[in-house]
Amino acid sequence: MSLDFKLIRNTLIVKVKGELDLLIAEKLREEIDRKLIDHQIKNLILNLEKVTFIDSSGLGLIIGRYKKISALNGKMYIVGAKPAIEKILFFSGINKLVPIYRGEQDIINI
């Protein structure tokens, strides 16, 4: 797993690479939460372009960050999910809470 962080004003863009399961979700949670505090982040964009697998642990990570970001009156988005990943996101209903867009550019344009 590798993580790539990008900061645009108070928006944090996290690019995740690998399989979002129990092992990885735990590590990601710590890293993202530290960044949220250290940089006073308001909005979060999760780029899942390079994610090849997701299960309940990964979905829990997304829901957990969504709750944190919402509590700060911020917005959270998911971008770049491959069809197999998107299928699980829709199945879980997460898309009703966290809007899913094709690419980062789509969010910047709205």
Binding site: E19, D21, E26
Partner: protein, 148 residues
């Protein structure tokens, strides 16, 4: 129906082994010549069951074991048993409700995924004795599917 082939393995109850477990079962299931989508679904349900054993069954204790048995029957049915010897589930019916989770860090979708992506799913559990999740799924012969 007779068992055509089976594998049986056990591993330590740590998060590092969740990906090993799902990849191994997926590799075995490729003998069924199923689609990539189906393989992804098999990986997902194994991941859920094994994660449940580690987190709930063993409360994240690392020195316990999880067992997996996977069999392919003559009629192209895949059977899986994922078993732990942990604390068991007090209330199985409640545990199987969508979005019910006893810890806040995961989304309580595990059993929902297992029920949705498998044809049959049964949970056998006794408090203090462990949990066994048994799942079945049939795969049509490709040609039959094409003409169905």
């Amino acid at each position: 129906m007779n068992i055509k082939n089976y594998v049986r393995f056990e591993f330590q109850s740590i998060a590092e082994n969740v990906s090993f477990a799902r990849s191994s079962v997926a590799a075995f299931a490729t003998q069924l010549d199923c689609t990539l989508d189906e393989i992804e679904e098999i990986k997902l349900v194994v991941s859920e069951a094994v994660s449940n054993s580690i987190i709930h069954g063993y409360d994240n204790r690392a020195n316990e074991k999880v067992e997996i048995m996977v069999a392919i029957r003559d009629d192209r049915t895949l059977e899986m048993i994922i078993k732990d010897y942990g604390k068991g589930i007090e209330d199985i019916i409640r545990a199987m409700e969508p979005a019910y989770s006893t810890d806040g860090s995961r989304m309580g979708m595990g059993f929902t995924f297992m029920k949705s992506f498998m044809d049959e799913m049964e949970v056998i559990s006794r408090p203090g004795e462990g949990t066994s999740v048994q799942m079945k799924r049939s795969f049509l012969v490709r040609d039959q599917e094409a003409y169905a």
